[in-house]
Amino acid sequence: MNEQPAVEGFTRDEMMTVAAARALRDDARCFVGIGRPSTAANLARRTHSPNLVLVYESGTIGAKPGRLPLSIGDGVLAETADTVVSVPEIFNYWLQPGRIDVGFLGAAQIDRYANINTTVIGADYTDPKVRLPGAGGAPEIAASCGEVIVIVPQSRRTFVDRVDFVTSVGFGAGPGDRQRLGLRGRGPTLVITDLGMLRPDPDTCELTLTQLHPGVGVEQAVAATGWPLKVAADLTTTDEPTPQELATLRQLLNP
């Protein structure tokens, strides 16, 4: 976790979470993983998106936790949900047919076409450098949600030219691949990092720097990316976290 202040008053990690929360519009149905996605989604529900529908893969639909859940199966999710369904049901009836608007994913590696690896680091699957936890719900979340938002701190180790293992498909090898593979959702539309935001180029699908957080320079983002990062012509700057956003986030993390 990067606790180095980006500018006076907030950390890069806080900026990343606030930016992710802002990306969730009210009334959206959001499939949430634990960690940063859950923090951001719960922040959104407490600020600008009170009607955000939180769906966790443990089968809790419409959870309204009064505190940050510590696991995807935290009792507070079941107690506050509109309904609790079985794990086969959450994947088969709710995720698979496209009922979820936004899938919110993290990554151990992400590449220029926004493919995600959470399986192994190293070229040899049978003799990995690092064995990671694996797929979980991510491949089908990436395939079937209306769109996918990725939240992950930016570094050369994480932002690689090609992932060592495609656990979840972003844009495959480039334009047209999602359609060819029959994936129904639009795929990753936004990658939020501690430095800024990347979006897929509408023509090439390549992740492009479109926004920087306050106090971050283009060269920093380029240096933290393992491929020659393209920069949008209309590069914008993220609004600083408001006092209310910061206070709510800190209260969530340190109740």
Partner: protein, 279 residues
């Protein structure tokens, strides 16, 4: 009717060397005490199956009980990696661990097919991922009605399915509520099943939304209060989040782990309500 017995007898009778065993629980109602009893009885060459192998699977793997793991997400939830699992995969300690990995959707559907008595399940999944090449139990299938190409995964029918639940009556009827995960599916998919429960009561009071497994669909029930620790049983216990944190330290080093295993699992009779507390 399900037979009611002690946990030790249930494991001795139902779980044999070389069996495929699924101890399920999606962060809730994880049958930790049963897993530790399997370690205590020294079972070997097990094919362990679970969507979310976490701390108790790390213990089983580190204790050398497993030759293979079929899974979809192996981690310490909210904390990080499973060090015993990683040591087994990366360095073959204490023995090499064969793996067969899926996604959650795939695993859930494999249990559904198993429970339904079908040879395979169909889903939209895996397409375009490297899992397709690495996992032989993922295959394309063409819909005979529309011609659409989908994905097939084979049924999971474990030799033994083990879950924890809130309560059972004296006939072995089991009642489960809260996050029920794949509890019903794994019990119905398995050749033999064991349900550990917080308590055995004279009569099951109906609860809205609860899953009820009739006693005739369950092989064995054992009363094991606190048997899901460090996970929880809704309305009976809270999740011991500290345990998961401490596990990261205990499991990181082979010697520390081995000492912990000796002291908290092997040297205990399995009657301590803390079931291998991490402290």
């Amino acid at each position: 009717m399900a037979e009611i017995s002690s946990l030790a007898d249930a494991v001795a009778d139902l779980v044999h060397d070389g069996d495929s065993v699924a101890l399920e629980g999606f962060t809730h109602l994880i049958p930790t005490a049963a897993g530790q009893e399997i370690i205590r009885q020294g079972r070997r060459d097990l094919t362990l199956i679970r969507m979310t192998p976490d701390v108790v699977y790390d213990q089983l793997i580190g204790a050398g009980c497993a030759k293979k793991l079929i899974f979809s997400w192996a981690g310490n939830p909210g904390v990080g990696s499973l060090h015993r699992f990683r040591d087994a995969v990366q360095r073959g300690w204490p023995r090499p661990l064969e793996i067969e990995e899926h996604s959650h959707a795939g695993m859930a559907n494999r249990y559904v097919a198993g429970a339904a008595g079908l040879p395979f399940a169909v889903l939209r999944g895996y397409v375009g991922t490297d899992l397709v090449d690495r996992t032989p139990t993922i295959a394309p299938i063409t819909c005979p009605f529309t011609g659409e190409v989908l994905t097939a995964v084979p049924a999971l029918n474990p030799d033994v399915g083990i879950v924890h639940a809130q309560r059972a009556d004296r006939h072995g009827n089991v009642q489960i509520w809260g996050i029920t995960g794949v509890h019903k599916e794994v019990v119905l998919a398995s050749a033999r099943s064991l349900v550990t429960v917080e308590e055995i009561v004279d009569e099951l009071t109906p609860r809205p939304g609860a899953v009820v497994l009739p006693g005739w669909a369950v092989t064995r029930v054992a009363e094991v209060p606190g048997g899901a620790h460090p996970s929880y049983a809704m309305d009976y216990s809270d999740r011991a989040n500290d345990y998961y944190q401490q596990w990261d330290e205990i499991s990181r080093d082979r010697d520390t782990f081995t000492r912990w295993l000796d002291e908290h699992v092997l040297a205990t009779a399995g009657t301590d309500a803390t079931y291998g507390g991490a402290e």
